[in-house]
Structures are given as C-alpha cells and as structure tokens.
C-alpha cells in the first residue's frame, strides 16, 4: 500500500488533503456527507476574538470557472467556537487546524493564545491574506516587515505549530515567504482567493455587497500553482497549496510544484466528496505508477 502520510512541520497527517478555511464551516456541516476521519486535517472557518457579522449580501457570484465571494469573515468568535463548535470535532482522530485572524497584531496574538489553550487543536493557521476585510487580512500579508512581525509575535507566544496563510497578490512571494520562514513559521499556505470584482450591467452596480471580493475555483489554479512553485523554491518549510484544486490531478500538480499538502475549497460545494475522491485518486495514481511513497512526488518538478 502506498504511503500517503506527510509532515507539515511537527504535524503528521495521514494524507495531504484538507479543506480550505471558510469553505468547510466548522466541520460539522459536512459530517453527514463525508467521513471526517478520512481527511488529512480539518481546517475551520476563520475565527476572531469576537463574533463577526460579515459583509452585506449578495456575498457570492459565479464567474467563468470561478466563484467570487465577499463573506467578510463572518464567524461565531472564539468563545462560541470553543464551547459549541470544537467539542464536535474532538470525536474525530483527524488533526484540527484552526484558521484565525485579527484586526491588529495584538488581536492575532490574543486569538491565537485563546485557541491554542483549547483541547483538540493541532495547529493554527493565521490568515494574513483575506481580501474581504478593511483592516488586517491581506494588508498584514503584503509586506516583508508586517509578515515578519506578526509571525515573530505568534511564534514567541504560541506553542502549537503556526501556519501562515499568504496571498498571491504580492510583488515578490519569495521575499514574503522568507519573512515567515525567517521568524520560525512552521508552514505556509498559498494562496488565498484573489481580489476581484464583477459588475451588473443593468444597474451598473457591483454584483457583490462588499463591492470587491475574492476569486476562487478552477479559474485561479494556474496563479496558485505558480505562486506555490515560487515559494517552494525560496523556502524550506512545508507549503500547503490551495487554489482551484478539484481533483487528484490538480492535487498532483501542486505536489509536483513543491506543496507538501493541499487544501480543497470551492470544489467541496459542487461535490462534497471531492476531498475523499482526491485521497482515493492519489492512492490509485501511486499504485498505478509503482510509487511507494507520496513524498517522492513532492517538489519533483523537472526543469
């Protein structure tokens, strides 16, 4: 049987497939549709210090091969998450990665401290790349200095593995990735949805309540792949690839480009079994090609 397990920093995953934050709720929403124990990890909706109402509707719009969203990090906040959402996930053996964000560096640290004190959290994923909030989010992930500063603050205070989720929308991803690595981040997730918009011709108004949003889905896969490849060339810490992954072939492309694991987002909506099918597809691919260990694929891009 081929070996599918991978290490994301200190975190050992039975396979490299996990949901992208924000597309999988708090896990429970999909628990009747797939076996959560089959996943490499569960990544939660982004959590903040206090509950957030998110952006006004419409929050979603489909484009050719893509989905624009403007959810605005609507979430229950860390207290409700701890009391009402996390307990359900403790029933599963799958490691739980809690995605989180703040509006200031202090707030990032405060949320991370609260979440890391909870039983049943394996790692934290800091969202430094949300296109849908006015303060924080993508602004924190766009300069070397701010990525270094926030990573440093988290690494100094938090004992759990820290994953930094970055954006493709930066002038030099290798520099930004090095900033996270240099301050001790255990892994990097790339990419978040890409800032984008759509306009209604009749009313000449934006089609999203938040005016602009983030584009996800197959439309952004080539952008994501190139960003992952560049970052993987620049840093030694593991990269979790995300952006338009819909099937095992997409996942393989990211692994070949240098990703150690992959996140599946938009594809869960149309087919809730996508992640399970990707895991099965990877296993079958390795068997068919006589490869014993998935790790042989990672970073195997030929010149």
């Amino acid at each position: 049987m081929p070996i599918l397990n991978v290490h994301v920093g200190p975190l050992e995953l039975q396979n490299p497939v996990m949901p992208a934050a924000g597309t999988f709720g708090y896990g429970e929403e999909y628990a009747s549709l797939i076996d959560l124990n089959q996943l490499g990890a569960i990544v939660t909706k982004g959590i903040s210090l206090t509950p957030q109402q998110g952006n006004p509707p419409p929050r979603i719009w489909e484009t050719c091969g893509g989905v624009l969203n403007s959810i605005g990090l609507h979430n229950v906040g860390v207290e409700v998450f701890a009391q009402e959402r996390l307990p359900f996930l403790r029933r599963f053996s799958t490691p739980v990665i809690v995605n989180f964000f703040g509006h200031t560096i202090d707030e990032y640290v405060e949320v991370a401290q609260k979440v890391s004190a909870l039983e049943g959290v394996a790692a934290l994923e800091a969202n430094l790349s949300c296109p849908n909030i006015k303060e924080g989010g993508i602004h924190f992930g766009s300069t070397y200095t701010s990525v270094a500063k926030i990573t440093n603050s988290l690494i100094r205070t938090i004992k759990l593995p820290i994953i930094i989720k970055l954006s493709s929308q930066v002038s030099s991803i290798d520099e930004i990735a090095k900033a996270a690595e240099g301050e001790g981040a255990h892994a990097i997730t790339l990419i978040n949805s890409v800032p984008a918009m759509a306009i209604d011709l009749g009313s000449r108004r934006p089609l999203l309540g938040g005016v602009t949003g983030g584009l996800s889905g197959p439309a952004i896969k080539p952008i994501a792949l190139k960003t992952v490849w560049e970052a993987a060339t620049a840093v030694k810490i593991p990269i979790i690839g995300a952006g338009g992954i819909t099937n095992y072939k997409d996942a393989l492309e990211f692994l070949i480009a240098g990703a150690t694991a992959v996140q599946v987002g938009t594809a869960n909506f149309k087919n809730p079994r996508t992640m399970v099918e990707i895991i099965e597809g990877l296993d079958a691919f390795l068997r068919q090609n006589g490869i014993d260990d998935l790790k042989e694929i990672i970073g195997s891009l030929k010149p």
Binding site: G25, E29, P58, R59, E62, P218
Partner: protein, 269 residues
C-alpha cells in the same frame, strides 16, 4: 432538518413548459424521503468545470409514498446553469444534494390558508398546497405572473379542485391585471376563521405580503431565495438579514417567519 445525502440521479423526463420553463424529473439511486414541502436540492452536472457551483432548486414534486426516490423540479431558463439543465436528455446522469433546508411548517387545523405565489414562487408552494389540501378545508391560492404563459402551474392547480385559485398577470392576459399582492385586499381578517399566509416569489412581493400579515396580525411564512454555494450552512454565502442578525437561507431557512426578516438587505431585491 433531515441530513442531506449526496447521490446520483438520472433524468427520467425533461419537458419544456411554454418557451422558457422546464419540468425536470429525476429518479434517485436511493430514496431520501420523506420530503417536506419548501425543502430544496442542489443539482449539478459532471464535466462542467466552467460552472463551479451547483444550483439550488425547490423540490416541486416528490413521491413520499416511495420514500422520495423521485424528485421533480420546475425551473425557468435564466443563465448558464439552467440552460445546461434544460438540455439534459432522458437517462442523463445528474448529481443531487438533498433534502436541504427546513420546509414549510404545517398550518394549524381549521385555518383559512392563503398562499401567495409570484412567478416561479409557485415551485415550492405547489407541493405545500397538495399537502395542506388533505387537512385544511379552506385554501386560497393567489397566483400572479408577468403573463399568461408564466402561470405554469395553473392547469395542475385547477385540476386539484376544492381550492380557490385567483390569478393576476402584469399584462392582463389572465386574471386581474396587475400584481398578485393587489388580491390581498380580499383576504383581510374578517374575525371569523384564523388565517395563515404562505408566500414565495420576488422579494418585493414577500415584503408586501409580510407587511399585510403584520397589519392583519396573521402568521406568515415566506420562502427566501439567495445565491448559494454549499447548501449545508458551511460557506455563509446565502445569508439574509433577520432581527437576530444574518441567518443562512440554506439551513436556517429557506422558510422564515416573515416578521423576523429585515427586508431590503439584498441589492438584488
């Protein structure tokens, strides 16, 4: 709310009704019932990567006698997704996530039940009428659309007998000319029987019905429509503003108590 199932189906029948409407009958690989009127399904067709999202449709008809192993959908061709569905031939595979959402609550016995449907709003209300007909003695359906050809369920409603059906069309080609909400004036509380209202249609219609119900002190249930992605409450795309903050139409609804809705939050409405 029942746990949704993601399963395969096959097109059993795909009939066009008039120029832009379709009635799609799907047989499921396993029964998923029972269905509650007002619940919906997410439909998707494989091999369509340029259409990344499934499409939500009200379940228009079902066979709860067979534990719902067959579902009917009534839809209007408005874009890429519906055009794709309209072209499916008999036997074509289709993926279904269902049943989703809460469904309409029952009417208390002995109520005068008033059902207000605007255009495609008839889709989830039709099975509600069928269900309530078995227990309620007085059902009035107020059914409005742009033109006569848009009153797609009218023959079936007439066939039911025992219910009152009043129509309006904006162009006057059938029934009273104007909007269906104009018929509400005939449904004012006469103090004789308790009343209950159910409505589905464009949001301005729902708001008028909701205002009417509040003034008349009559309970009113509305089916809210939003663009959706996951259908199971995970992505938070389909929210509607309520007195208690944003709620997810897909799983906190799509049926809401009209007095809880904060109208006018959606730029589409």
């Amino acid at each position: 709310m029942s746990n949704p199932v993601y399963l395969k189906g096959a097109v059993k029948e795909n009939k066009s009704v008039g120029s832009v409407y379709h009635r799609l009958r799907i047989s499921l690989s396993q029964p998923i019932g029972p269905i509650i009127p007002g619940q919906f399904a997410m439909l998707s067709v494989e091999g369509t990567e340029d259409i990344p999202l499934p499409r939500p449709f009200s379940i228009h008809d079902f066979d709860n006698d067979n534990d719902a192993s067959r579902l009917d959908f009534l839809f209007k061709v408005v874009g890429k997704g519906t055009a794709l569905l309209a072209h499916l031939t008999v036997g074509s595979p289709i993926k279904i996530l269902a049943p989703l959402g809460n469904g309409f609550p029952d009417a208390p016995l002995g109520c005068k039940t008033v059902i207000v449907a605007g255009g495609m709003g008839i889709a989830p209300l039709f099975p509600l009428v069928l269900k309530l007909k078995t227990s309620q003695s007085s059902i009035a359906v107020l059914y409005g659309a742009k033109s006569q050809e848009d009153l797609v369920c009218l023959p079936e409603l007439h066939d039911m007998g025992n219910i009152s059906v009043k129509t309006t069309t904006e162009d006057g080609t059938h029934g009273e000319k104007g909007l269906v909400t104009h018929l509400l004036k005939h449904e004012e509380n006469d103090g004789q029987a308790k009343r209950i209202l159910y409505a589905c249609g464009p949001e301005p219609l729902l708001k008028i019905v909701s205002d009417f119900a509040r003034k008349q002190k009559v309970p009113c249930w509305v089916s809210i429509e939003r663009l959706m992605a996951c259908g199971v409450g995970a992505c938070l795309s389909c929210v509607v503003a309520t007195m208690n903050g944003y709620k997810r139409v897909c799983c906190d609804g799509p049926i809401f108590d009209a007095k809880d809705i904060v109208w006018g939050d959606d730029a589409d409405s």
